[in-house]
């Protein structure tokens, strides 16, 4: 199949899936089969695109021109491939998980759920493949809107409040900062294309570029850089598969992916390192990492803790993107994948616990490991990956990020990353450990795991954490080809 057809296929498949799901809404088994098949096909088509994506900048694929001189268009490049691969692969896993979760938790409006989910994935892939800032922005906003019904899925007051914060923060940042930054960039440079080495090329003075950098960093609210992180904990009112895929992978990663793309392809590393504004943003990212970890420690609700942990981990990627050194960018790109596998595992576990026991608070989970050993083991593995301990994938991204801060001459940031790892231990590990070892006098409990699709999904992602440790080479190559390193 031609490359153009494949790209369109990859984006259109989930859209078509959404329509099919809508049509099959009355027969749950068929509906879920459609979701799974669509997921599989989407992943396959992304996979088929891989050679093209690795070969550097592919030809542009224009499909609309919403503004004269500016087009909505797709173009493959390594970072987008990386993101698309992760999102489409984890969609399959999450679909498997959702089947267990949604049925197990007896959620309502499941059809709407699957429709919006497919839409969100389509838009995520749109973000991944976008060839210019405008396309990216369009899909970015569409993603916000398509996930809103998912966040507010429960439809009660709490969901409404959560959804309000979610939409409020994401729209505010994108309208108030991201959009003007895009327009300003366009008026300065006359283009919005992603180009290796950036598009400023000495056109603008450092004040303007610095201001733009700050606008972009805060404008991409999905990257959850403090103080615009509030939406992420609020989004936790959503059903867990949503939190898992969207708020640990697709949506937040769309944010940091956008930032990474902007630093690499709009500003360019050479320009970025000269900016004073970059140093400012680096330290804000560092502060975001630490503060979010500290807040995470104070949260007793499991999903809230994971949400703050996500905020902190997103700071890693923002940090790497802003470091703009080869290792920093590699680390940031790799962390997109590493964190995706680790955090999705953790969310899967949180959901499994909820489905099996209806427990949401950490303090209720002591000794739970005896009833749900598999879940808790997966949680342990996911935690290790988030902390960045061998033998889990998180080690490598931390390695590159630390090397990146060293290359950039910011030893303090290396310290931040180290302290953050320790904080991660403090807030993540107690959960599985107390699950396994606390309250041993209460006698053995009866094994009561979540439905099997949930377990299968958890198994896949936690195995992924290990696989990424022992075979990081493809991922590394993909990430490294971003700055023209070893292919």
């Amino acid at each position: 199949m031609s490359y153009e057809a494949l790209v369109s296929l990859a984006v259109c498949l989930p859209l078509a899936g959404a329509v099919l799901v809508w049509l099959c809404g009355n027969t749950p088994n068929l509906r879920e089969a459609v979701t799974l098949v669509t997921g599989g096909l989407t992943f396959l088509s992304v996979l088929l695109l891989l050679p093209q994506g690795l070969s550097g900048m592919s030809p542009e694929l224009v499909f609309a021109a919403p503004l004269p001189g500016l087009s909505l268009s797709f173009r493959l490049e390594p970072l987008g491939m990386l993101f698309a691969l992760i999102a489409s692969f984890l969609w399959i896993v999450t679909s498997i998980y959702s089947i267990g979760y949604m049925r197990g938790a007896k959620e309502e409006n499941q059809t709407r759920f699957y429709i919006c989910f497919a839409l969100a994935i389509a838009f995520t892939l749109g973000i991944a493949f976008s060839a210019n800032l405008l396309t990216l922005f369009v899909f970015y906003e569409l993603l916000t809107l398509s996930t809103y019904p998912l966040v507010t899925h429960k439809g009660n007051d709490e969901a409404r409040r959560g959804g309000r914060v979610y939409l409020g923060v994401l729209l505010t940042t994108s309208i108030a900062f991201f959009l003007p930054a895009i327009i300003w960039t366009y008026s300065v440079t006359g283009t919005l294309d992603f180009r290796p080495g950036g598009i400023f090329g000495g056109i603008a003075d450092s004040f303007v570029v610095g201001a733009l950098l700050i606008l972009f960093c805060f404008g991409v609210g999905k990257a959850a850089l403090m103080p615009f992180h509030r939406w992420l904990p609020s989004a936790m009112v959503a059903p867990t598969p949503v939190s898992a895929l969207l708020h640990a992978v697709a949506v937040v990663k769309a944010g940091v992916f956008t930032l990474l793309k902007i630093t690499v392809y709009i500003f360019g590393a050479d320009l970025l390192v000269l900016l004073e504004a970059r140093d400012l943003m680096l330290y804000i990212a560092g502060a975001s990492i630490l503060l979010a970890s500290i807040v995470a420690m104070t949260r007793d609700n499991l999903k809230a803790r994971l949400a703050y942990s996500t905020v902190s981990q997103l700071g890693y990627i923002t940090l790497g993107a802003l470091l703009a050194t080869p290792a920093g960018i590699t680390g940031a790109a790799m962390h997109i994948a590493m964190h995706a596998f680790g955090k999705i595992t953790l969310f899967f576990c949180a959901g499994a616990i909820y489905v099996a026991t209806k427990k949401t608070e950490i303090s209720q989970m002591e000794g739970l490991g005896r009833a749900m050993p598999f879940t808790m083991l997966a949680f342990l593995i996911g935690s290790l990956s988030i902390i960045g301990l061998p033998p889990t994938g998180g080690t490598w991204s931390k390695w590159y990020l630390m090397l990146g801060s060293l290359e950039a001459g910011h030893i303090a940031l290396m310290g931040v990353l180290m302290v953050s790892s320790l904080l991660n231990i403090a807030y993540l590990l107690p959960i599985p450990i107390r699950g396994f070892f606390a309250g041993r006098n209460e006698g053995p409990s009866i094994l009561k795991e979540a439905p099997w699709p949930c377990l299968v999904a958890m198994g896949i992602t936690s195995a992924g954490c290990f696989v990424l440790f022992f075979f990081p080479q493809p991922l590394h190559d993909l990430a490294a080809s971003l700055y023209g390193g070893t292919p």
Binding site: A64, L67, L167, I175, S187
Partner: protein
């Protein structure tokens, strides 16, 4: 025959609705009146399209009314600035009529139906006349025709407050029209001509006189009332809020735009940008008022309880955007302003149509009526969401395009530009607030007993609403037509000044 029609298109444009209005009244029967009006609207639309094509192919078109050559006779002049307005007006004419068949049946007592249609046609004729004419006094005449008929339209509202609103509008509209008349009188006094093109030639020699300056002031203030520019917007919410749905759809989409058209026409074509923005401090005054309008309008919209009022206040804010574009007086700014006039007409038309659908079901359009509509009236709410996203300025909707151009234009203006951008973006955010407030009610609140049995609006009402919604999306995805029209309009305006 065909060639005769083609030669007289400009006249037909106005005369068709003007002529058939009394006939419509005479028909008395509801169905027949509607059918006639609808046929006329289709013809009008065809004429406007033809005119538009002609202008874009062959340049400005001058038509001497009654064979009297300008500047003595009345000249109808179609150029790339007003041709798209003609299309817009006649398009809204069609859409509103399509909508009104069911809506008017419900909202207006039976014997007055034919009256409504004829008043409506008169109003359209007046607005078309304002746009098409090249004669200053003729503008006043058509303005009065359209105003008087719109007072009637508003007073048809079933709510008793509609009468008060109409009366209020009458007072204000009359003041505005009188001011316009005073202004036109002054310049006639100084130049002895009423033809706009002729005025543009003669005015520069008497530019420095107090009389011309006073004339300009009167025209600006007078038309500001009709435009509903802050702080002269007070008549607008009630007029739109209590009018019958069909009337509010049409008025919201067109009447303020036409007034703004007049303002721009006088400023650029008659007085000239050099005079208006060079000799007079028009820019700062307008910018301050427009930015204030954005804030006041949006904030007021947030706290309203009636959807029509929300939309009306939102219009006040959106008019602020248009005036900002106009006040920037650059090519980019002017095209952004004109672009937003079209886009806003489409989006606000869509939203008022939705309000009309809800009104049709529940006989009111308060926020409470929207409870649970996400479930009971999914298609109606779908159109509302699309229109609302347009107001917010989401990408792939018309609102995004105008916002983009407005910000691009403001970027050329240094620090003031940044303030304007801030205001525009703040307005967008406030739009999120007032739109999402309604969306939340519709999708999250359970309907009470009255609304539980709500059904989807009739198909015939949904078609126009969705037509406008799709148009909003279409402009968002492929705006080249609208943007092209706006840009050539701006070019023709700026190019016509020395």
């Amino acid at each position: 025959m065909m060639s005769a029609i083609f030669a007289n298109l400009p006249a037909l444009q106005v005369i068709l609705p003007l002529l058939f209005a009394p006939i419509c009244f005479l028909l008395r029967k509801r169905g027949a009146a509607w059918l006639l009006a609808f046929c006329v609207s289709l013809c009008t639309f065809a004429v406007s399209i033809a005119l538009f094509m002609q202008v874009s192919a062959a340049g400005p078109l001058s038509y001497a009314m009654g064979g009297w050559d300008p500047p003595w006779g009345i000249e109808y002049r179609v150029d790339s600035f007003n041709a798209p307005f003609l299309v817009l007006l006649s398009l809204m004419f069609c859409v509103t009529l399509a909508f009104s068949y069911k809506s008017v049946e419900k909202e207006i007592v039976q014997p007055r139906h034919a009256l409504f249609y004829s008043a409506f046609m008169l109003c359209v004729a007046g607005l078309l006349g304002i746009v098409i004419t090249g004669d200053a006094f003729n503008v006043f005449v058509f303005l009065e025709i359209s105003s008087l008929s719109s007072y009637i339209l508003i007073s048809f509202g079933k709510d008793r407050r509609a009468l008060t609103a109409a009366f209020q509008y009458l007072i204000m509209g009359t003041i505005g029209a009188t001011f316009l008349l005073i202004g036109i009188g002054f310049i006639y006094m100084m130049t002895g001509t009423l033809n706009m093109a002729d005025l543009a030639v003669r005015l520069p020699s008497v530019m420095d006189t107090h009389t011309v300056r006073a004339a300009f002031a009167f025209i600006i203030v007078g038309m500001s009332i009709k435009v509903a520019l802050f702080p002269l917007h007070v008549w607008l919410p009630n007029a739109y809020g209590y009018a019958p749905s069909a009337a509010s759809v049409f008025l919201a989409a067109t009447s303020t735009k036409v007034s703004l058209y007049v303002l721009i026409r006088f400023t650029f074509t008659v007085f000239g940008a050099g005079f208006a923005f060079g000799a007079m401090p028009l820019q700062p005054i307008l910018l301050v008022l427009a930015v204030t309008a954005v804030f006041v309008g949006s904030l007021s919209a947030i706290f309203q309880t009636n959807i029509k009022h929300v939309l009306a206040y939102s219009s006040v804010a959106q008019i602020g955007y248009m005036v900002i574009g106009f006040a920037l007086a650059s090519h980019a700014g002017l095209s952004a302003g004109i672009l937003h006039m079209f886009n806003h007409a489409v989006m606000k038309g869509c939203l008022f149509l939705v309000a009309g659908c809800v009104f049709y079901r529940f006989r009111s359009a308060r926020i409470e009526d929207f409870r649970g509509l996400g479930k009971t009236m999914p298609w109606t709410m779908g159109a509302f969401v699309v229109g609302g996203l347009g107001l917010i300025g989401m990408p792939l909707t018309a609102g995004f395009v105008s916002k983009w151009y407005l910000i691009m234009a403001a970027l050329d203006h240094g620090f003031v530009g940044f303030l304007i951008i801030a205001a525009v973006l703040a307005g967008s955010l406030l739009a999120v607030a007032y739109v999402w407030r309604i969306v939340e009610v519709a999708y999250f609140q359970a309907p009470d007993e009255v609304h539980e049995n709500g059904k989807e609006a009739p198909f015939i009402l949904l078609v126009p609403a969705w037509f406008m919604a799709l148009l909003t999306l279409y402009i968002g995805i492929d705006p080249s037509l609208v943007v092209g029209a706006a840009e050539s309009a701006a070019l023709s305006l700026l190019g016509s000044t020395p």
